[in-house]
């Protein structure tokens, strides 16, 4: 397969109640890139990522136009199962993502839908849990885990499908500093293309060399995370603010 991991062209979308969320979005993410999707609340970030695996948009029978390519091939209704394997979505609230009685069942849900059974399935589940360091908690019920652990299992449920692109919706929200760092360690060690919605700007700088800045349904800036965060006028124009005392020019980032 060839082409960029994700390619979006002139994507327009309005919710059934008439509220338009996307006003023509264009961007492209190459294989292996790590990209942060920044922007104020209500900018359309979550709406955009729900398009990437065909949950929203014309493919899902909704309204909207534009073109989405995943791994070089167009999004089509017939390819949806394959696209949903390739683009792994981690939702913001782990309680939405983890719906099975135990961690093991939950991580197995995706691969089982792909048709895996028996030892192959067990192997896949174990592998995904090892990737997030949760292999000792396989038989625990999700609500017995801490919030940080649940977030990690949520990542594992998607990793178990061996996605090419991992899309995370605010991965660091509601995490304590240690869980936040542990998750960063896990994410930076993964060998996948990464797209991450976040309000946590230092997190974006730490993990993603590139950022897309979205506001009012459009991509308003696309560039190196450090440059975007360093542009005070751009930041102020789109309601983004750095934490007190944080200077994006003074900390190390993921750039080589």
């Amino acid at each position: 397969m060839s082409g960029p991991s994700i390619h979006v062209e002139r994507l327009v979308f309005a919710y059934p109640d008439g509220r338009q969320a996307l006003f023509g979005v264009d961007f492209s993410i190459e294989r292996g890139e790590r990209v942060a999707l920044l922007g104020p609340n209500g900018a359309g970030k979550t709406t955009l990522v729900l398009h990437l695996n065909g949950i929203l948009g014309s493919v899902a029978g909704g309204t909207g136009s534009g073109r989405i390519q995943v791994g070089g091939s167009d999004l089509h209704r017939e390819h949806l199962p394959e696209v949903r394997r390739k683009v792994g979505l981690v939702f913001q609230d782990p309680d939405d993502q983890l719906f099975m009685p135990t961690v093991r069942d939950d991580v197995a849900f995706g691969p089982a839908n792909l048709g895996l059974r028996g030892p192959e399935l067990d192997e896949r589940v174990h592998e995904a849990l090892v990737q997030v360091g949760m292999q000792d908690h396989a038989d625990v019920a999700p609500h017995h885990l801490s919030y940080g652990q649940r977030r990690r299992v949520a990542v594992a449920t998607v990793l178990a499908m061996r996605p090419e692109v991992l899309v995370l919706d605010e991965p660091s929200s509601n995490l304590d500093p240690a869980s936040r760092r542990e998750l960063a360690d896990i994410l930076s060690g993964l060998d996948v293309t990464l797209l991450m919605i976040t309000h946590d700007l230092p997190y974006a700088l730490q993990l993603c060399e590139r950022s897309l800045l979205m506001d009012a349904g459009r991509i308003v800036a696309d560039g190196a995370t450090r440059d975007l965060l360093g542009d005070a006028d751009l930041m102020a124009a789109h309601r983004l603010e750095l934490p007190y005392g944080f200077d994006p020019l003074s900390v190390p980032g993921p750039e080589k």
Binding site: L50, N53, I55, P81, R84, R85, G88, L89, F91, D93, D95, D96, Q97, L98, F99, M100, P101, T102, D105, A108, F109, G110, A112, N113, L114, R117, G118, A141, P142, H143, H144, T157, V158, M161
Partner: protein, 255 residues
């Protein structure tokens, strides 16, 4: 966070009863209750045997007697009803401790109490020795429709989430100085239930999105893949089959 909600009523110890596959236990409970209900209420010896067998089960399952007694509290409404029966039933009267009671009422009361208690204790043994997930897997093995299994499994998973929501809403209400009388309280609770419904409904939509994202195509993956061995069926059903024999004997002897 109410951590224990998802474990249901499981008493986490290891015993022969705990290790039996859930489907065996479910069938055993069902057959046992049928046998008990089919026994004529005048066959007192049969009920004594049933009670003895159940007590043996409780011991075998290593359940603390206190826990079992506490959980018997669910039976209270039936007990109240049973105790009323001798006073309201008609027919020949008998004198007990200076009270005039209906003879058929006393017998009916005994019937409800004995059969109810035996059934409840048997159900307690099942619920205390089987984790909710095992119970679901057992029902699945017994070919309950998969949609029903999915609904039950979501209930098990989200009961604690919803009860946490409810708990937070109550704290928020009381933090803002809510007192109100009994009627006012009901009104606030009713509003809370409405809000909780909307929240749960929205969560349901988000969970559905998450399921679709992971390739959900209308069929839940199976929870279990291994069946029960014949020996396990025999072991689990031994008690129930004994109960059936007792019930049949009592019926025949009563003729």
């Amino acid at each position: 966070m109410s951590g224990s909600a998802g474990d249901g009523l499981l008493v986490p110890v290891d015993s022969r009863v705990h290790r039996l596959p859930a489907q065996v236990k479910i069938v055993a409970l069902f057959v046992f209750v049928l046998a008990v209900v089919a026994t004529p209420s005048t066959a007192f010896w049969a009920f004594a045997l049933y009670a003895g067998m159940l007590a043996g089960c409780v011991v075998l399952a290593r359940l603390p007697a206190l826990v079992v007694l506490k959980r018997l509290a669910v039976e209270t409404p039936f007990v109240v009803f049973a105790l009323l029966l001798p006073f309201v039933a008609t027919g020949p009267r008998v004198e007990v401790l200076g009270l005039s009671l209906s003879e058929s009422g006393v017998l009916g009361s005994w019937n409800v109490l004995a059969k109810g208690t035996l059934g409840v204790v048997a159900a307690i043994v099942l619920s205390a020795s089987t984790a909710p997930r095992e119970l679901l897997a057992g029902l699945e093995r017994l070919k309950l429709p998969s949609t029903l299994i999915a609904i039950l499994s979501f209930m098990v998973r989200y009961l604690s989430v919803v009860s946490d929501d409810l708990h937070r809403m109550r704290i928020a209400r009381e933090s803002r100085g809510y007192q109100g009388g009994r009627a006012g309280h009901l009104k606030a609770v009713a509003g809370g239930v409405g809000a909780l419904f909307v929240r749960s409904f929205e969560r349901g939509e988000r969970v559905h999105l998450a399921m679709q994202s992971r390739g959900y195509n209308g069929r839940m993956p199976l929870l279990s893949e291994t069946g029960a061995a014949q020996a396990q069926w025999l072991e689990g059903l031994a008690l129930s089959l004994t109960a059936v024999v007792i019930a049949v004997t009592a019926r025949v002897a009563g003729l």
